[in-house]
Symmetry: C2
Subunit: 237 residues, 2 copies
DNA sequence: CGACGCTTTGAGGAGATTCAAGACACGTGG
DNA sequence: CCACGTGTCTTGAATCTCCTCAAAGCGTCG
């Protein structure tokens, strides 16, 4: 006789709402069935806690189910920069693939729930699904593409960077089924600045200027995009 | 009866001087034997000629045998930036892997000779060498690591960027067996600037300042590093 | 030898940083 | 529930780095 708990099916790769945005993208039904047996689910980190550390051995690919995180890199002088923000459904951990040592640190921006595909099981899984490495390769190269776009953007004036940042967060949330026009920025001005390569005061000035121009409404971290076209127009002719 | 030409063995992956720096890295002897049958060798491009175009379909992985190239990216406003320079033995083409469309343009900086592994043969080869995609994945993630380092560097003052650029070219040439202290910069000041995100005048000023400080000797494109430690000290505490 | 492109050098100005101080929000404990 | 303290955010003013514009020097290649 099923009790209340049993009535709620546990979440696996087969019924996860991330669906085609996560690792299973590109795999067939039977492969997804295999995958779910290999993945550690329901890992939790609270705000500020580390998902993995730069310098630690690569332990596998991480898929964020909920919450957001930041990906930090440090140079040898201790300068820190936020390489990327990670939103639900996005993958993490490629920075450990080439040398088996992570060269970035991943930290939760708010409580996160993530799945973890351990590195040794990646090989096991790939043995039966030969195209799996191909899929990972595509994902990895996709990250590369995004880095290239970031480099292009970092050449532009601060105002364009902030406009582009807001639009891109909006787009990414939209893909994941969230509202594209109203959402909470889970990162601080400081963190946005570290990501865009500008001072936090500059971020603040530009965001408030956008508000004065009635392009956005911002209250603390709560953001409402009033005129996406204008925002877009700041960096796209 | 062997004639003069036959006496000279054609260069294949098995006897190529790039050896373990190229695609064969990580493959066993028999796999390298297979690989040589799949690779198109001896492709030539002269200075300024295109190796592949942004927007064109992905046609495979390219390995530079000699000469150097630049990897360009364009944003939608037509702004151009040099994403990377490519030296002999380095691989090219990952920017086409994720979407099957190249999002960068590769152009020869001087006469180049390259090998080409067509995309359809990558799959054929991987069928017999299941770890091949794994190797490519590692290479690709390695590119990712380099992009991350580039992003960190682009936060630093212009002087540090130039110092770091010179050291890194030196290091890369050293790995390939060239002199690490004396070499020819195959790219213009303008191109260095585009790569580092600074104006070509700034590049020129900084390079000449390094010369005044007796850290380097520069005559047109010919460079001699006199004091690598000092150069290093500009960006590394 | 002349023309063109690349490099150098100088002067002025724009954009972003830094420093400093005050406003606001949030969580804690009284 | 309010007072308090800490951390985040905003705003202003001075400064600095680097860019832009301009012009001249140098090298190279037809």
């Amino acid at each position: 006789m099923p009790n209340a708990l049993a009535a709620k099916a546990p979440i696996t790769c087969e019924n996860c709402n991330l669906g085609k945005l996560c690792i299973p993208k590109g795999l067939n039904r039977s492969e997804v069935g295999d995958l779910k047996l290999l993945v550690n689910r329901n890992n939790i980190r609270k705000k500020g806690e580390v998902i993995y550390h730069a310098g630690s051995p690569f332990r596998g690919i991480v898929a964020l189910r909920s919450g957001s995180a930041k990906l930090l890199s440090f140079d040898s002088n201790g300068n820190e920069a936020i390489v990327d923000f990670v939103l639900p459904g996005e993958l993490l951990g490629f920075d450990g693939f080439s040398s088996d040592i992570h060269n970035c640190t991943a930290i939760a921006l708010e409580t996160v729930n993530f799945c973890h595909l351990p590195s040794q099981r990646i090989n096991a899984f790939a043995a039966n699904s030969p195209n799996f490495y191909q899929i990972l390769l595509q994902r990895s190269c996709n990250q590369f593409d995004r880095q290239v776009r970031k480099i292009m953007l970092n050449r532009r004036p601060a105002e364009e960077r902030v406009a582009s940042f807001l639009v891109h967060v909006s787009e990414r949330l939209k893909i994941r089924g969230y509202s594209e026009s109203e959402f909470r920025l889970s990162m601080s001005r400081e963190e946005i600045g570290s990501h865009l390569g500008i001072a936090h005061e500059t971020v603040s000035r530009i965001i408030n200027n956008f508000q004065a121009l009635e392009i956005i409404e911002i209250k603390a971290k709560q953001l409402k995009i009033l005129d996406k076209k204008k925002l877009f127009g700041f960096y796209e002719e």
